[in-house]
C-alpha cells in the first residue's frame, strides 16, 4: 500500500516537472531554459527520494545526494555557458 502510494507520488512529481520540458524547448531566453532544467533537477531529486522509499532502497538516496550536488554544478555551468567564451560571471559585468 504505502510503497504503491509513494511510487504514485513519484510519478506525479515527475509528471508535473516533466511538463517543464516545454519551457526548455520554448525558451525564449537562455535563463528560461535553465530555470526549467533547474525545476526538473529538483523534481528529479524528489522523484529519486520517493522511489528510494517506495522500493526500500536506501542506497538510492545517495543518487539524490549526487544529483543535488551536481545540480548546483550544472547550474553554474549553465550560467558560465551563457557568457562569451564561457568564462564570465554575470555579476561581474552587471
Amino acid at each position: 500500500m504505502m510503497p504503491d502510494l509513494l511510487a504514485g507520488f513519484a510519478a506525479l512529481v515527475l509528471l508535473s516537472v516533466a511538463a517543464g520540458l516545454a519551457r526548455v524547448l520554448r525558451g525564449p531566453t537562455a535563463a528560461d531554459r535553465m530555470m526549467a532544467a533547474q525545476l526538473l533537477g529538483t523534481g528529479g531529486i524528489a522523484t529519486v527520494l520517493l522511489l528510494a522509499a517506495a522500493l526500500d532502497m536506501p542506497a538510492a538516496v545517495d543518487v539524490a545526494l549526487v544529483l543535488a550536488l551536481l545540480a548546483a554544478f550544472a547550474a553554474v555551468a549553465f550560467v558560465k555557458g551563457a557568457s562569451p567564451e564561457g568564462t564570465g560571471d554575470p555579476e561581474e559585468e552587471a
Binding site: F9, S16, M34, L65, A72, V79
Partner: protein, 97 residues
C-alpha cells in the same frame, strides 16, 4: 497504516502540489522574473516537504541526516543559481532591448 505513514503521505502530497504549482508557474507566467519567482518558491518548498515526509522512513539518524543534506544542498544551489540566473536574464534583457 500508521500515523507516521499518514504524516508521510500528507507531506509528500503537499510537496507534490508545490511541484505542480511551480511547473504551472514556469509555464504560464509571463516573463523571466515571475517565472523565476514561482520556480524557486515551488521547488524548494516542494522538495522540503517531501524530505520532511520521508524522514520517518529514513534508515537511522544517518539516513535522516542524508535526506536533510539533500534538501539543504538543493536549497543552496537553487538560491545561488536563482541569483545568477536573474542577473543573466537581466543582461540578456538589456542586450535584447
Amino acid at each position: 497504516m500508521s500515523a507516521w505513514d499518514l504524516f508521510t503521505l500528507a507531506a509528500v502530497a503537499a510537496g507534490a502540489f508545490f511541484f505542480l504549482a511551480g511547473t504551472v508557474g514556469l509555464l504560464r507566467f509571463p516573463d523571466v522574473f515571475t517565472r523565476l519567482h514561482a520556480l524557486t518558491k515551488a521547488d524548494n518548498l516542494g522538495l522540503g516537504l517531501i524530505v520532511l515526509g520521508l524522514l520517518p522512513r529514513a534508515e537511522g539518524v544517518f539516513g535522516a541526516l542524508k535526506l536533510v543534506a539533500v534538501w539543504l544542498l538543493a536549497l543552496l544551489a537553487a538560491a545561488t543559481v536563482a541569483q545568477l540566473v536573474a542577473r543573466l536574464a537581466r543582461r540578456e534583457g538589456d542586450a535584447g532591448a
